[in-house]
Subunit: 151 residues, 2 copies
DNA sequence: ATTCTTGCAAACCCTTTGCAAGCTA
DNA sequence: TAGCTTGCAAAGGGTTTGCAAGAAT
């Protein structure tokens, strides 16, 4: 079972700052990949990338490191439509959302000030506090739409 | 159990109207339970409820029926923090989103025409088709905010 | 030297699927 | 009767875990 790791999209009010982990080549390798990617990746995908890159890290370790990073608040965790956990380095200060292609996985980052405002307003109206939200749009990108008019 | 969990949710702008299913006792049993519940339930939970109730329906069938109902748009689908699919018959008809309490799980249904419009517009601008979106707001409801002012 | 991390493989858990039997339309 | 559904059990796929070997401090 997944531990505490509250799979949310943005930074939480409760940091939970876990203890520092040791610096290992595996951890550095995972971190390096995350630095290069701008989109969310599943553990399996990240593991595959590391393999292709020669910097092999076992699947189990990939899972452990990614979870660890998430616990430390160094990465954002989300769950895709299949329920798989996907991670992204959350160094970005600008809050934004994603427009994801359901077929090829392409992701476009979009901003939505209007939505942010709406979310805040709605929450306040209902007396909710410590609010955060997730907004994701799924669809077929232009290319996939062209070559795949079904499915 | 399931708490603040992001990701996915609801149905699409595309009805996808699946074909009508046959009326079986299993389907009726599942439907009956959904009618009585106001919160989201996982397939496993619903299956357990049916068992306790005597109206046994196999796990596999529970999964099939729930998915079927979701395809028909008769229930809302969401994913909890563990990535499990959870369903709930929605009180509100029409497309809407949720304002969820991260602490007690309370859910408030909210509509957001502005967001719908924004999502559609954004997707179109990028040439995406067959679009659907998920919007969930997480926070602490009034009650939990009051009793949890420190932490 | 001690303590933490990694690998590997088995274990888990939710979910899906093949098939034969049962039931609906 | 014909065709969809159900059950059961096995198969899948992602994720976790036990344990011994290998690093980091």
């Amino acid at each position: 079972m997944s531990q505490g790791a509250p799979a949310d999209g943005s930074r939480t009010a409760v940091p939970a700052a876990a203890k520092e982990q040791r610096v290992t080549k595996q951890r550095l390798a995972v971190s390096a990949v995350l630095d290069e990617l701008t989109d969310f990746v599943s553990t399996q995908e990240l593991h595959r990338i590391l393999q292709d890159r020669g910097t092999s890290v076992s699947l189990a370790t990939s899972y452990r490191i990614l979870q660890s990073l998430a616990d430390e608040g160094q990465v954002d965790v989300l769950r895709n439509a299949d329920g798989e956990a996907v991670y992204r380095r959350c160094a970005v200060t600008g809050h934004h959302h994603h427009l994801l292609c359901r077929s090829c996985g392409k992701a476009v980052e979009v901003e939505a000030p209007a939505v942010e405002a709406w979310a805040a307003r709605t929450a306040t109206e209902h007396g909710f506090t410590a609010v955060e939200h997730t907004v994701e749009i799924f669809g077929l990108c232009p290319d996939c739409t062209a070559r795949n008019t079904g499915r």
